[in-house]
């Protein structure tokens, strides 16, 4: 039982970051019907920014909020430079645009920075643990869980209690009708990218605190996890994205812990198989969202 509780805490810590990433992806999907494969580039840019900020002598207390701002600004720039021009285009065009941004950013870092990984320091407490009974708890995991829950609460309040949130939800429900009701599309979409950038920035802080490295593909894995979590939760569902993130984190940790070592290499394969099975029984993901088709 202790072992299971330990694994659940580990899974929630891992899943918290996935939830933040998935929520950012779900927000964009809600207003644009776009699965944003360029979402990971917010992490990549944040990673290189962290490297640079460390090289000029800043520490994590200053760098953490700057990373959030960097991710926010990057998200807005990507929207302005790339997605604005394909708005209203078929979903496939937007999907290809997001792939384009993803590969372009990677290539720019390879060409103008380095293909090599750049290292920067991790916070001193990052691997610190404490014991509660037989449980070995990482301060990092608990910090991730608490900050994630606070961020999710703030996002919930923002979406439920503010005009911005109402506009965003209305646009997510039926973008064209929302526009007819007087909601300004530019502002809503830009705001969605701002929110998505902030969420990615917070995820980036935790991701980078642990990895301590910047590389051209630094954002690839977080992006894939975020997309997977959003798919599990049900594309377009904000609460589903959060649920999907935690479920993905838990499943990964449980599989790594429970699978015999002879087949542990199949962990990722089994995760995808489970997701495929989920879609057989619930094609809409864990939480379904009604979408109005644009015709």
């Amino acid at each position: 039982m202790t072992e299971l509780i330990q694994q659940i805490i580990d899974g929630l810590g891992r899943g918290g970051i996935y939830a933040l990433l998935a929520l950012g992806i779900a927000v964009i999907f809600g207003v644009m019907h776009l699965i944003n494969f360029a979402h990971g580039e917010l992490i990549t840019v944040s990673a290189y920014s962290s490297y640079w900020l460390f090289s000029i002598g800043l520490d994590w207390w200053l760098i953490a909020p700057i990373i959030v701002v960097v991710a926010l600004v990057t998200a807005v720039i990507i929207e302005f430079v790339a997605f604005r021009w394909v708005r209203g285009a078929p979903d496939f065009t937007m999907l290809m645009t997001s792939f384009g941004v993803h590969f372009l950013v990677q290539a720019l870092f390879v060409m103008y920075v380095s293909a090599n990984f750049r290292q920067f320091p991790r916070p001193e407490w990052i691997f610190a643990t404490f014991r509660v009974g037989q449980l070995n708890l990482e301060i990092y995991d608990l910090t991730v869980i608490v900050i994630t829950l606070l961020t999710l609460l703030a996002t919930y309040l923002l979406l439920q209690r503010t005009m911005f949130g109402i506009s965003l939800r209305a646009a997510a429900e039926d973008f064209d009708t929302a526009r007819l009701m007087g909601i300004r599309s530019n502002r809503v979409i830009r705001s969605a990218f701002v929110l998505s950038g902030v969420l990615a920035g917070i995820a980036a802080v935790f991701w980078l605190m642990r990895s301590g490295q910047a590389g051209p593909t630094a954002g690839l894995s977080p992006m894939l996890k975020g997309v997977l979590a959003a798919l599990i939760g049900g594309l377009g569902s904000l609460s589903g994205a959060v649920l999907g993130g935690f479920v993905l984190g838990l499943v990964e940790v449980l599989l790594i812990s429970r699978l015999p070592s002879s087949i542990a290499g199949l962990t990722d394969g089994i995760v995808f198989l489970l997701i495929a099975l989920l879609f057989v029984f619930r094609p809409q993901g864990l939480i379904s969202v009604k979408h109005v088709e644009r015709v």
């Binding site: 072992e3 330990q6 694994q7 580990d10 810590g13 891992r14 990677q106 870092f109 390879v110 380095s114 293909a115 090599n116 990984f117 750049r118 290292q119 920067f120 320091p121 991790r122 990052i126 691997f127 610190a128 643990t129 070995n136 990482e138 995991d141 991701w207 642990r210 990895s211 301590g212 490295q213 590389g215 051209p216 593909t217 690839l220 894995s221 940790v253 790594i256 812990s257 699978l259 070592s261 542990a264 290499g265 962990t267 990722d268």
Partner: protein, 394 residues
């Protein structure tokens, strides 16, 4: 008797003249590395010994091929500045394969069309294999930074420049046994490098009396959370050493989490550690890793790195890969000097029989091998944030 003597004398005197004095000469790598680019000898003339480099500058292989190609260009400049190879200039033609098998094949064809005598290849077999399909045993191919044993085949004129993973993991196991470590835990991922090295380590370590008490799976490059594996290790017997082919920043996370869980052990990793940051990584103090050279004072690798920094005004990003690129060029030059021919097929056959070629990382011998040079494996330990030589395993 007179006739024999006359013929022999004719051979000794005339042959160098017939072959442009090529194969009679010697190539002094130390003198070349010491060459001052600001005081060059008269420029060599005539047909150049052309060497191609199908280099991967993408995010996949760029960590190796970028520093390797920079060092290769610098070394070719030095060779030409020193008067070339017995008066013959050396030319390096680089094509970027962009981490793509099709681009690799196109680059290979273009290099062959450009008339190169040999091709230097990328680090990963995903691109090395497509390159070999194009060269098809017609042009010798030397894989600069690859340790993948399946790429080597002397018959197909395909050669490694570094030791292979079998040698690397065997050296790691022997080193562990020499240290008196009896138990090990490995971290692996199915596949060539991340799976093969732990597999060979286990085989040799256990054959030598050690015991691998567990093998944990991990996701190479991406995995940044080892909580599940660490909790399992914390609940079991503490091993004397943890062996893996993890990248440096992943190794640091694993050590941090194991330290946090109170598991104190030794860490031994492969050359991927150095390739991805190595001792610059925070939290890897005490780590052991296998690699291709040790930049001791007075060594050729150190001379290469220092010379490059002085000439270019910037550090060579990775001296080991730079050294391996120099090794590859030295091998092609040695084969040229042996045969006096720039014809790829002749050079390829000569490479397969070379012995004791002086390279930057050590001496390379291909004779009697299947294209994998017998080279020492260096084991470094990170002490005070810098590499120290812990052992040289022959």
């Amino acid at each position: 008797m007179k006739q024999v003597l006359r013929t022999t004398l004719f051979g000794v005197i005339a042959a160098p003249l017939m072959y442009g004095s090529a194969f009679a000469g010697s190539f002094d790598i130390d003198a070349v590395l010491a060459t001052d680019l600001n005081a060059c000898k008269p420029a060599p003339s005539g047909s150049a010994l052309k060497i191609g480099y199908a280099a991967d500058f993408s995010d996949l292989g760029g960590f190796a091929d970028k520093p390797a190609s920079e060092a290769a260009l610098y070394f070719v400049d030095l060779v030409n500045c020193a008067g070339g190879v017995d008066g013959v200039p050396v030319e390096l033609v680089i094509k970027n394969i962009e981490g793509d098998p099709e681009v690799t094949q196109r680059a290979g064809k273009e290099l062959m069309s450009a008339g190169v005598s040999a091709i230097l290849g990328p680090p990963f077999p995903d691109f090395g294999e497509p390159l070999l399909q194009v060269t098809a045993g017609k042009v010798p191919t030397l894989f600069v930074a690859s340790t993948e044993p399946t790429l080597a085949a002397a018959e197909a004129m395909s050669f490694l420049v570094a030791f292979d993973d079998t040698a690397q993991a065997t050296a790691a196991a022997k080193f562990s046994l020499d240290k008196g470590w009896k138990t090990a835990v490995t971290f692996s991922s199915p596949g060539p490098y991340f799976g093969y090295n732990p597999q060979i380590f286990t085989k040799v370590f256990e054959a030598g009396g050690g015991k691998v008490i567990a093998d944990y799976n991990f996701v190479p490059i991406e995995g940044m959370d080892f909580s599940a594996q660490v909790n399992s290790m914390a609940a079991a017997e503490t091993p004397d050493v943890v062996y893996s082919a993890m990248l440096s920043f992943q190794s640091a996370v694993l050590k941090g989490q194991l330290d946090g869980a109170g598991v104190e052990t030794n860490y031994l990793v492969t050359d991927a550690f150095e390739a991805t940051g190595g001792y610059f990584t925070e939290g890897v103090e005490g780590f052991y890793h296998t690699t291709h050279s040790f930049p001791a004072e007075g060594s050729r690798v150190k001379q290469l790195a220092d010379g490059y920094a002085a000439a270019k005004g910037a550090e060579l990003e990775n001296a080991s890969f730079g050294g391996l690129a120099v090794d590859a060029i030295a091998v092609v030059i040695a084969a040229y000097q042996e045969t006096g021919s720039m014809e790829p097929g002749t050079l390829g056959k000569a490479i397969a029989g070379l012995d004791g070629v002086a390279g930057a990382t050590g001496s390379l011998s291909y004779s009697g091998t299947n294209g994998i040079p017998g080279k020492p494996v260096y084991v470094h330990q990170v002490v005070g944030g810098a590499p120290t030589l812990a052992a040289t395993v022959e």
